[in-house]
């Protein structure tokens, strides 16, 4: 899988490369490869956010996420700890779910009251996974936290809302820019004590007969 190859790349190149080149490519989230700015030293208040924005199930463009070629070499920041290979979490922000990797950024609905360089703790972690195992939250993985830093509070590109009724001489033009927040994911923690499922369980069930299941 693509993410697995990326993680192995990072493991091998980590000891060799010291400089990570970050082209500021602004293509879409959440599988963006922009990584690791200089660690933000401004220790603002720890804000804990529960999603309180209205339900808007706007899908992230999965097409572009799949078409993305993950060929960039990634070198982990020498100051950040080593994550398990292929670590990811599914986190719910603003009643939308995102797949989140430490060190990458995502764009979410505007979080009110969060200023730039604020640290944010996200508690609604639905799934944590690595290459070999995953912690399935029912419904959330207890004590798991995703720490993020607010990078920017910006606006989406403009969308023209055009209302038109034909043959009735009615047209209205409105421009709309949805406010958003860009978060840099720092770390995923607190999931170690949760019961986990590994590939061994899967293979073990294969060898046993199906009749022995409930």
């Amino acid at each position: 899988m693509a993410t697995a190859t990326v993680s192995t790349l990072s493991a091998t190149f980590g000891t060799h490369c010291a400089i990570s080149h970050n082209p500021k490519s602004q293509f879409s989230q959440p599988f963006n490869l922009n990584r690791f700015p200089s660690p933000s030293h401004s220790h603002s208040s720890n804000l804990t956010f529960s999603p309180r924005l209205p339900l808007s199930p706007l899908p992230k463009s999965t097409e572009s996420a799949l078409a993305q070629t993950q060929t960039q070499t990634l070198s982990p920041d020498p100051q950040s700890p080593n994550w398990e290979p292929g670590l990811f979490a599914v986190v719910m922000i603003g009643s939308r779910q995102y797949i989140v990797h430490p060190g990458r950024w995502i764009v979410v609905q505007r979080l009110k009251g969060a200023n730039v360089n604020d640290k944010i703790a996200l508690h609604k972690v639905l799934l944590v996974g690595t290459d070999t195992s995953c912690y399935i939250g029912q419904p959330i993985v207890t004590n798991a936290v995703v720490y993020a830093t607010v990078e920017e509070q910006g606006l989406d590109p403009k969308v023209i809302v055009f209302k038109y009724k034909k043959k009735k001489h009615y047209r209205r033009t409105i421009g709309h820019r949805q406010p958003n927040t860009r978060l840099r994911i720092n770390s995923i923690m607190g999931y170690e004590n949760y019961p986990k499922v590994t590939m061994d369980d899967l293979n073990l069930d294969d060898t046993q007969s199906e009749d022995s299941q409930s």
Binding site: P59, Q97, V197, L202, S214
Partner: protein
């Protein structure tokens, strides 16, 4: 009344519309009257399809989940069973995430499916082979 020439007022207005329509095919980017019509149609389609997009993607995710789940030999499952088990086991993962996991990290999805189908669920109302 004083005489007023119209000058280039109309041209200024049409220039913006022409810029919008500049990448359209054939007469739709060249002829003035069709340009105004095509801009209207384009904006109406965009407005309508922004809502359509949400529906389309959900169907796509469902198809993808179904395809990946049915085909694998490790866990015997189909989409409806998987969704039923997701709801009864109180997982909050939505179809978008499950579809993404199905494509990028299949093993994780099989682990999830295996876990929620094969381990005994205290909430299940009936017992027997799914």
């Amino acid at each position: 009344m004083t005489r007023i020439k119209r000058g280039y007022i109309a041209r200024k207005r049409r220039k913006k519309i022409r810029l919008f329509t500049s990448s359209f095919r054939g007469a739709h980017s060249r002829l003035t009257r069709t340009i105004t019509q095509q801009k209207i149609k384009a904006l109406v389609s965009a407005h309508r399809d922004r809502d359509r997009k949400k529906r389309d993607f959900r169907g796509l995710w469902i198809s993808r989940i179904n395809a990946v789940i049915r085909e694998n030999p490790k866990v015997y499952c189909i989409y409806s069973n998987l969704i039923y088990n997701i709801y009864t086991r109180q997982l909050l993962l939505n179809r978008k995430i499950v579809a993404q996991i199905a494509i990028l990290k299949e093993n994780c999805l099989f682990m999830i499916a295996n876990h929620i189908i094969k381990t005994k669920n205290p909430r299940r109302r009936y017992f027997g082979k799914v």
